[in-house]
């Protein structure tokens, strides 16, 4: 079941349309990737989900009913631009922000102590925020985002500004949160983390949704019959062996192995390629090349932009 769904959401600022008829569904206990180039409308959509602004058209439903102001207590939001009151104490500030999310002071203190212990940052409690490094502030902010145990979390570029060790720590925490029942909207430009973490995605470009669905299915759908092979025993051009319609996309040589990427005509089985090649060379490895999210992102966005240039 969907914890959150947006239906035909449109938002305009004067003459500028920031979101145009965008729909999406975030399933319970899933990680949902919200992707798109800069200025596509992601932040506007996040702000609508957070009820910072309202949609001009369309609706947002939380667990099947319209979102209402009290629902902010069930949502945790880590904005891309992190920020805390610099002159305020870390602990004091964390309690304040937790209280704004509806926790009692007592409960906030109890949970925060637990999180500070978990992250081993107890001795920051009485420090002022400005005394902490940027990475430390991010940790505090992460805790503040999750301390009220929201059922829907929105992370906007959560890994930026963290060192690899802390990126791992954070990724584990995010996976742990999902395991414990939270649903997560994850906005990022880092496509490898999308492949690693996300179940579903939506790709927004220039205010319009241009792609959505399950990550694996999307990649599968974008598979264009391309294979990578490593081989030895044949030093001439691979292309001369191939029947027409077969295309060598890329070839290179490292150590003793040749390396080639070959695209087959639509509807052609991979066995036909192997059948042609096997008499001439020794194959070390043979895999299908499933496009990365990065490639899909770039090709999709470029295609749409090229179309819009043609149209205009």
């Amino acid at each position: 079941m969907a914890i959150l769904s947006a239906n035909q959401v449109t938002k305009r600022f004067g003459d500028f349309t920031a979101l145009n008829q965008v729909s999406l569904e975030v399933q319970e206990q899933s990680i949902f990737g919200l992707l798109g180039p800069n200025g596509a409308g992601k932040t506007t959509l996040i702000r609508i989900i957070n009820q910072i602004t309202g949609p001009d058209e369309g609706s947002v439903m939380y667990k099947g009913r319209p979102l209402n102001p009290a629902d902010t207590a069930f949502i945790g939001y880590l904005p891309e631009e992190r920020g805390l009151y610099k002159k305020m104490g870390v602990g004091e500030q964390a309690i304040y922000l937790a209280q704004l999310k509806g926790l009692s002071k007592h409960e906030a203190l109890k949970r925060l102590k637990k999180w500070f212990e978990k992250f081993e940052i107890q001795d920051w409690w009485n420090k002022k925020v400005e005394e902490l490094s940027k990475g430390m502030q991010q940790k505090v902010q992460f805790i503040v985002t999750v301390v009220h145990e929201p059922s829907l979390l929105i992370f906007d570029e959560p890994f930026s500004g963290f060192d690899p060790i802390n990126v791992n720590l954070l990724r584990d925490e995010i996976l742990e949160l999902r395991k414990n029942g939270a649903s997560i909207i994850f906005s990022t430009h880092n496509m490898s983390s999308v492949e690693e973490l996300c179940d579903d995605i939506v790709l927004i470009n220039k205010s319009n949704k241009i792609l959505d669905g399950n990550v694996k299915e999307i990649r599968r759908q974008h598979f264009d019959n391309t294979y990578r092979l490593h081989y030895r025993g044949y030093n001439d051009s691979l292309g001369s062996l191939l029947p027409s319609g077969f295309e060598v996309v890329k070839s290179s040589m490292d150590d003793e192995l040749h390396n080639a990427i070959v695209r087959l005509p639509k509807g052609t089985h991979s066995g036909e390629l192997l059948k042609v090649l096997l008499p001439h060379l020794e194959i070390a490895s043979f895999t299908e090349v499933i496009p990365s999210m990065n490639e899909i992102f770039i090709s999709k966005v470029n295609a749409v932009n090229a179309n819009s240039i043609l149209e205009s």
């Binding site: 602004t53 309202g54 102001p69 902010t72 009151y85």
Partner: protein, 478 residues
């Protein structure tokens, strides 16, 4: 422009609780700041100095002043002694002629002691261009008191001797004195009523009451002016801080921008009220302390010295002469004539109302810019009505019920300052009421406008904002 209702009501039941949390944070973080504590201590010292300096200067005399005296009673004129500060010159003119003559004959003030028919002459009027110094009024009433008391004492003693003469020979001198001092002292105690009248250019006169009203009005309006500027700017800086810190996005994902804005405005208002309250308490304590330490200069009405009047025929008798009593008589009288319940309740209302009206605008400005240096262009429309009110305040005191005063005390942007200038002079209740209603409406309107600009502005970065842009933001839907 779509008129959506002001979001005062909110379906979120915890909304009030959240506003309270915001107010608490805004209040506590500011009150704990070092700058707040320093200002709380420095303020009263400055204010006490402001109170003490004029009194101190008034007791100092720079040059010799010529006081012309018309004494119709003939009791007092010879008793005024010249010193390095004052020269008393009796003039043999009637009052009107003497007033005409005053400037021509290089006199600084004219003391007029009118003859009375039935009672002892205990009234005197000082005409002057500038208000007489406390030293002078103190000295004149002192001399007059002493003279009157002397006359009264002589009369009492004559009466006494007539009444008690059979026993008088039997009793000793000392017991007679005892008897006298008790009953007679009460009878002869005199308070001269010394009125100060300002002579202005036209030669017409007005009572110095006006000055007290003026001072009262200006002090209150300056306080409102300062409060709006100091604490309005704090609201603005607070908004800019949240915006540049980027915490605002986290906060508005928990509360409505309107709640955050109002919480901040109210929180800062409480800081301001706390500061003013502490200032009033500390200043009073400080001034009271100084009055206790230097009763001669700054005393109000404590009977201070007992003056020996050796020149009395009936031997030495001690007479209490309240030396400083008359010093501040005129001012006190004027202050008494001000309607204080109205003045103070109006002050609190216009103080808070004016701040709230402007506070919302300051918040809107803070939201529209990325840093404090960019605020200049938007500050102008806010500062102009305020500074304008302070400038015209000086002409308002000359015509506190004129059309300019009337209109400016109705317009919400100027009414907090201008109405406070007018109120000590007496303003019809319907005008005060109307002005208050208009101020409330003005506050609701500016808050509505400001909240619309605010909720867009706080999330807008790196944009050079102009008035056209603000107008666009106002028309965005929430």
């Amino acid at each position: 422009m779509q008129l959506t209702p002001i979001p005062f009501s909110n379906p979120d039941p915890s909304a009030m609780n959240k506003i309270f949390l915001i107010i608490k944070r805004e209040y506590l973080t500011r009150v704990k700041k070092r700058s707040f504590i320093v200002m709380t201590i420095l303020g009263p010292i400055l204010m006490a100095a402001l109170f003490i300096m004029p009194v101190y200067l008034a007791t100092k005399q720079v040059e010799n002043r010529q006081i012309q005296v018309i004494d119709e009673t003939g009791w007092f004129a010879p008793k005024f002694e010249n010193n390095e500060n004052y020269t008393f010159i009796p003039v043999a003119l009637d009052l009107e002629a003497a007033k005409e003559n005053l400037r021509k004959s290089s006199g600084d003030a004219l003391l007029y002691i009118p003859k009375t028919q039935l009672s002892v002459p205990d009234k005197a009027i000082i005409y002057s261009d500038n208000p007489p110094t406390l030293n002078l009024t103190g000295y004149i009433s002192n001399v007059m008191n002493r003279e009157i008391e002397k006359h009264k004492l002589a009369a009492e003693i004559r009466k006494e001797i007539l009444q008690v003469s059979p026993e008088a020979e039997a009793s000793s001198d000392s017991s007679k004195e005892d008897l006298m001092s008790e009953t007679i002292l009460k009878n002869i105690k005199t308070d001269v009523e010394l009125t100060s009248i300002k002579l202005n250019e036209g030669g017409t006169e007005q009572k110095s009451y006006t000055e007290a009203y003026m001072i009262a009005g200006l002090v209150f309006s300056i306080m409102i002016y300062m409060f709006i500027f100091i604490f309005g700017a704090q609201v603005m800086r607070g908004v800019i801080e949240e915006k540049t810190n980027r915490i605002v996005e986290v906060i508005v994902s928990s509360v409505k921008p309107f709640q955050l804005m109002m919480g901040k405005i109210v929180g800062v208002a409480m800081v301001g009220l706390t500061q003013f309250l502490l200032w009033i308490i500390f200043t009073s304590v400080l001034i009271f302390g100084i009055q206790q330490a230097f009763p001669d200069q700054f005393g109000r009405s404590e009977p201070t010295a007992l003056i020996k009047t050796n020149d009395m025929q009936q031997g030495a008798t001690e007479i209490a002469a309240p030396q400083a009593e008359q010093k501040t008589n005129v001012v006190l009288e004027a202050i008494d004539s001000i309607n204080f319940p109205v003045l103070l309740s109006a002050f609190i209302f216009f103080f808070v109302g004016g701040y709230l009206l402007y506070g919302a605008l300051f918040a809107a400005i803070g939201s529209a810019v990325d840093n404090e240096t960019d605020t200049q262009q938007f500050m102008l429309p806010i500062t102009i009505p305020l500074i304008f009110s302070m400038i015209v305040a000086q002409s308002i005191v000359n015509d506190p019920n004129g059309p300019l005063a009337m209109w400016l005390s109705m317009i919400p942007l100027t009414s907090p300052v201008i109405m406070m200038v007018r109120i000590p002079f007496g303003v019809p209740y319907w005008q005060i009421g109307l002005s208050m209603v208009l101020l409330i409406l003005g506050f609701l309107f500016t808050t509505w406008v400001a909240s619309r600009i605010y909720r867009t502005g706080i999330l807008m970065y790196g944009k050079k904002v102009n008035y056209k842009e603000l107008w666009k933001w106002m028309r965005y839907r929430g």
